[in-house]
């Protein structure tokens, strides 16, 4: 009788631990999804800022239509990009186009003194770093999630319920790895 009770206690404890591990895995999976959508939120903000920026610069530098077109095109491409890799690449193109836009602005002192332009520039810089931080947080969360699935004993639960490891967000382009430098 005593042995039976002991067995029951052990089984109950094991079940409780298993439930805890399963719930931890589900929580982490949801956090990964949330972190991923946070990147989209920031990217969307970045895209929303660009038309305003283009309009402001246009008001001072009417003759640089080539640059405006490139930025607008790159933005459209980035908005419509599907998939992690395509998104990353389209974003790099957009970053390059924006660089040349700011280089153009360099030649117009009145533009550089424009309050609206300065604000947009700060907002854009802030949003760019937020995109980077959101990606970093996504990777941190993915690391925790993957680690949970690989370490003993929660790997047993992960295998049993078919949890899959996530991929890290990586930037292949060497140039894009460094911080975006806007020269003035």
């Amino acid at each position: 009788m005593g042995a039976f009770v002991l067995l029951l206690v052990i089984v109950a404890a094991a079940a409780l631990i298993a439930v805890g591990m399963y719930n931890a895995l589900v929580t982490l999976r949801n956090r990964c999804d949330n972190a991923w959508s946070q990147i989209d939120v920031q990217l969307r903000r970045r895209y929303d800022l660009i038309p305003n920026l283009v309009e402001t610069v246009k008001g001072y530098a009417k003759h640089e239509s080539g640059v405006f077109e490139r930025v607008t095109q790159a933005r459209t491409a980035a908005v419509n990009a599907q998939g992690v890799k395509a998104q990353g690449e389209a974003d790099n193109v957009l970053t390059g186009a924006l660089k040349s836009l700011f280089a153009v602005a360099e030649a117009y002192p009145e533009l550089k003194a424009n309050q609206n332009f300065l604000m947009l520039q700060e907002e854009l810089a802030g949003t760019e770093s937020k995109v980077a931080y959101a990606r970093q947080f996504y990777n941190d969360t993915v690391m925790k999630f993957n680690m949970r699935q690989q370490i003993f004993p929660s790997n047993i639960i992960a295998n049993m319920f078919g949890f899959k490891t996530r991929e890290y967000f990586q930037i292949e382009d060497e140039v894009a790895k460094g911080p975006v430098k806007v020269q003035f």
């Binding site: 700060e122 802030g126 949003t127 770093s129």
Partner: protein, 301 residues
């Protein structure tokens, strides 16, 4: 970086554990000397918790009030808000509200019991004197204090220090009144020298324990500073930014008028500028580790 973070977490946990053991030893002597039993401990814990609860629930408002900090909007300080929001994303916590102190001395602190209600406060001097990477380093340090629930831990430690102070105070009083019932009763039965030695040890403990409690409390505070530096660097992935900010802040000779002894421990760098180097006793009684050591730890990452 990972090692520094876990090492500092373990160290502060170890200090808290040591504190608990210390309190138990004290309670044992306390029972022995005064004969009050466990009731004394319960009373001491309740009194200490009561006084700390006031601090816990209103400390952020008091601190912001004392420091003459004002809440600012995003339109007013877009630069500050962008940095704070970015690092909140990196830390995975809601963006704290921003406060500003109008003072040219560069410094910053964080307050609040939990991430949802936390605030980050910086001086206007900090915004003027640091560049973006350095500011990000400082804000990341404060963000880590919030994320690591340092206010909560600090409150716990303050409660424990309070318990020690009360117990030792009551012990000293009971000595003055000629000791509690139990001790007298026993010494009459005459168990001799060991008895006297224990009483002497109890007396020494009663006198010294508040001092020990303060030293542990400050050691915890210093470990949390190291921890916030390391996990802040983890957020920005750029320890050099914070290192250079610390150098700039400590090189700035101007004292922060709004800070006083009660709030000094909150700031990223001691705002009172009595940085007399890392000598033995000075070091035991300082709330922050020496700047050079913090910079060295950051450069090792």
């Amino acid at each position: 970086m990972y090692e520094q973070i876990s090492r500092n977490k373990w160290k502060s946990a170890g200090l808290v554990a040591f504190f608990v053991v210390f309190i138990f030893v004290l309670v044992w002597f306390f029972e022995y000397v005064t004969g009050w039993g466990k009731g004394g401990l319960v009373l001491a814990v309740l009194v200490a918790m009561g006084s700390a609860a006031v601090g816990y629930y209103s400390s952020d408002k008091i601190v912001l009030g004392i420091s003459r900090a004002r809440p600012v909007s995003k339109d007013e300080f877009p630069y500050l808000y962008n940095v704070v929001e970015g690092l909140a994303i990196a830390a995975g916590i809601p963006a704290p509200k921003c406060y500003v102190i109008d003072d040219t001395a560069p410094n910053a602190f964080a307050a609040g019991r939990k991430p949802e209600t936390a605030v980050i406060c910086v001086t206007t001097g900090l915004l003027e004197k640091l560049n973006r990477v350095e500011l990000e380093g400082v804000i990341a340090h404060e963000m880590s204090h919030i994320k690591n629930y340092d206010v909560r831990l600090q409150t716990l430690v303050v409660v424990m220090a309070g318990v020690v102070a009360l117990l030792s105070d009551w012990m000293l009083r009971s000595f003055m009144w000629g000791g509690g019932g139990r001790r007298r009763g026993r010494s009459r039965s005459g168990s001799g020298g060991a008895e006297g030695l224990l009483v002497l040890a109890g007396l020494a403990l009663a006198v010294l324990s508040p001092l020990v409690a303060t030293i542990i409390q400050l050691a915890v505070s210093r470990k949390r500073e190291f921890l916030a530096d390391a996990s802040g660097a983890m957020l920005t992935r750029y320890p050099a930014g914070l290192a250079s900010a610390l150098r700039k802040i400590s090189a700035d000779a101007e004292p922060l008028e709004a800070a006083n002894k009660a709030t000094a421990h909150l700031y990223i760098v001691n705002p009172l500028k009595n940085l007399k180097g890392g000598g033995g006793v000075n070091r035991l009684f300082s709330t922050h580790p020496p700047i050079e050591e913090r910079i060295a730890a950051l450069e090792k990452m």
